[in-house]
Amino acid sequence: MKILLNTLLMLILISCMGKVRGVQTKVNDGFSVTSSTTTTTTLPEIGEAHDPEMFISSIGMKTYSSLNKTMSNLTGIDIDNTEVKAAFNELKSSLPNSNQLQKYNASTQKAVALLAATYCDELVKGPAAGLTTIVPGISMNSLDPEAVAEGFVRNFWGVEAEEFQNDAIKEFGDTNKEIISTAGLTNRIKFEKVVFSTCLGTLSSLPIWIL
């Protein structure tokens, strides 16, 4: 009887699916990035019947506190780290205070980038163990920008489509090869620049703050 009821319930749900669409939500609040699926009602297309300026979205952005936690979990830098705390308090008013994408603007993006930069700066300064968790086998003397990009992209953007991740690895890898092509840089400086900029690029991008 119970099985029959469950089957009936499933059938009812499936019959309703013509009006709902699966929307992926991502939770990357830690190194073990998980993915879950929720359903939302189909949102109307913008057409003549709608205000052309209407903003429609079934996705949102993380608020300042969940963004802070996400960056902390991904980089392994404590949320109470002195530098992070100071930066967060200074940037808080410019970071998103609601999930509504409508409030996103250039100031928001700037604040996201500056908070990400603080975490990345601490990651570069911090114990090597934190970094090797993200980029296993990373070495100052045999630095491979693409391998560094692979570590950050796979760990930070693990829920994204494989092809997109591969494109990102190439993009960040190539950019960093260009950055360290300047003559006269020591291995340490090259290492710090590549780690910092890859971390900054991945941590300030849309896959991190979208909800």
């Binding site: 949102l43 903003f55 700037k110 980038a113 500056l114 950019t175």
Partner: protein, 522 residues
């Protein structure tokens, strides 16, 4: 368009199904069990195919031009050049927190422009010795203002301090009194039109709204309309609050400007790619543009502007007017006048002065001198920048007088308020707000009125005078309507309201005309 799928579309559908099989089992199983699909519409309905382009699949994007060039992006997102001309008047909302009595400076009139009774004037502080008349009232800036009032003396002194002859402002600077009731605490009142102004002008070159408060609106009171649509940036008295809008902070410690630009542009590019992969049903084109422009403008403002063109620090116009110590108000003024922000909010506190004092720093005279000084400083900056400006001066509630001490107060070496009674009672019935407009070219027509609404002869707000007398939200929309009229765009009021989820209360022309006093600028 043929209903038959192209080879590329078939390929895209196959790829999307493969992606779903790996990443979204639930959706994949649902599609498999779905009735057989035949047309392009069937596939689009299941999000297997994008509506207008092949944006659905990130991998495919790599073979398509993924970004518009800088010129196209500037056209799409708006200029970020801090020196570019600003086609709109900068807007500053000055909030006098506590309940100021502006009627103790600006002359209150009845609906028809008639005088109040002596007891009515007494409520605003005018003793029989100084009852407003043509000799003691100045109308050089539009609204009648009592020459003995501290506000008037502050205006004149500040213009003089900044080498501005008040005669040169005639016809260009117009002050209008708004007779509308507000309650004693307007923290939750929609008495600001900041969002409406932002909606009219489009995004600021660097920020939308800037203010002295750490609030959505930059001030205490709320903006009419969807308050979450736009956010404000806090400007403190620390120059870093402005430099932070365009500087790289910790990024500059690790990377050169050129290196930072490269990596942040890579982040911008990948974010745009990810954004493009969202289906139309998930996120509207407008929001996609908003986010795309957010990245583009963040990078453009950081890498395309010199801080000296944005910050008031070290700018002789602003340090000369405001002094180096008052960075906060100078910075907000410059950001707004240059169009780097669209609306600014400044809160002055201590206007809860129903204490009966006629002297000292907390007296009504002193506080109104402070407010008048700030208004004149902001106007002086607009004059020196040849920039147009609109201001709202609001307060929460008001304070009336009940006779008593008429001793004047010496503020900054100037005797002010001689003959005025002291403010003794919290009293919203004597409320008054100001709308101030300045345009360097003046206005096409003479203003026919400098007061919206009016008082009864006994000195209380006539609450049935018009649509805004007892409704702060409607009043804010009326302020936006006057802003639109100043720019010759009053026909856009309906659309602007709609965008913020408001109903235009002035669709009837007669109702609109009862609150429209600002003329189109020359």
């Amino acid at each position: 368009m043929s209903n038959k799928l192209t080879k590329l579309e078939k390929h895209l559908i196959k790829q999307e199904l493969e992606r779903l099989r790996k990443e979204d089992k639930f959706q994949y199983d649902f599609i498999r069990e779905h009735d057989k699909m035949y047309s392009r519409r069937d596939f689009m309905g299941l999000s297997l195919l994008g509506g207008y382009s092949m944006l659905a699949l990130p991998g495919i994007l790599s073979i398509l031009p993924s970004r518009l060039n800088a010129q196209d992006m500037d056209a799409k997102c708006g200029s970020t050049d801090s020196n570019a001309a600003n086609p709109f008047a900068g807007n500053i909302h000055l909030e006098l927190a506590g309940g100021a009595c502006l009627g103790s400076a600006f002359i209150p009139y009845t609906m028809n422009g008639g005088n109040l009774s002596n007891s009515g004037y007494a409520k605003f502080g005018y003793s029989p010795a100084i009852i407003p008349n043509s000799d003691n009232t100045s109308t050089e800036f539009g609204a009648g203002i009592h020459k003995e009032s501290s506000f008037y003396k502050a205006l004149m002194k500040t213009f003089q301090d900044n080498d501005i002859d008040p005669n040169t402002l005639k016809g260009k600077l117009q002050i209008i009194t708004i007779i509308a009731r507000s309650e004693n605490d307007n923290a939750n009142t929609e008495s600001s039109c900041g969002n409406l102004i932002r909606e009219i002008t489009g995004a600021g070159k660097i920020a939308d709204i800037v203010g002295t408060g750490r609030t959505v609106n930059g001030i205490r009171s709320r903006s009419a309309g969807n308050i979450n649509k736009y956010s404000s940036s806090l400007i403190s008295n620390n120059p870093s609050s402005v430099s932070g809008l365009v500087e790289l902070g910790v990024i500059a410690d690790r990377l050169s400007k050129d290196e930072a630009e490269k990596i942040l542009k890579a982040a911008e590019k990948m974010s745009a790619r990810r954004l493009a992969s969202f289906k139309k049903q998930t996120i509207s084109d407008q929001l996609k543009t908003l986010i795309e422009c957010g990245y583009y403008k963040a990078n453009k403002t950081v890498f395309g502007n010199d801080l000296s063109t944005i910050s008031s620090a070290g700018d002789p116009i602003y340090t000369g007017i405001f002094g180096a110590a008052d960075f906060q108000k100078a910075a907000i003024t410059k950001l707004v006048l240059k169009g780097n922000a669209r609306s600014g909010g400044i809160v002055l506190s201590g206007y809860d002065y129903h204490n009966g004092q006629t002297t000292g720093t907390t007296s009504g005279h002193t506080k109104r001198f402070e407010a008048g000084t700030l208004v004149a400083k902001i106007v002086s900056a607009a004059v020196k920048e040849s920039a147009s400006l609109t201001m709202q001066v609001t307060t929460d509630g008001s304070a009336s007088c009940r006779g008593g001490n008429v001793t004047g107060n010496v503020t900054n070496g100037i005797l002010t308020g001689a003959g005025f009674y002291a403010n003794r009672v919290e009293d919203a019935s004597v409320g008054m707000e100001l709308k101030i407009v300045y345009h360097p070219n003046g206005f096409k027509e003479e203003f026919t009125s400098h007061q919206i609404g009016g008082y009864t002869e006994s000195g209380s707000i006539n609450l049935s005078a018009n649509a805004i007398s007892n409704n702060q939200t409607t009043k804010s929309i009326a302020m936006a309507a006057n802003y639109l009229n100043m720019h010759g765009k009053i026909d856009q009021l309906d659309a602007v309201c709609k965008k913020l989820g408001l109903t235009n209360p002035f669709s009837d022309k007669n109702i609109l005309n009862s609150v429209l006093v600002v003329k189109e600028h020359a």
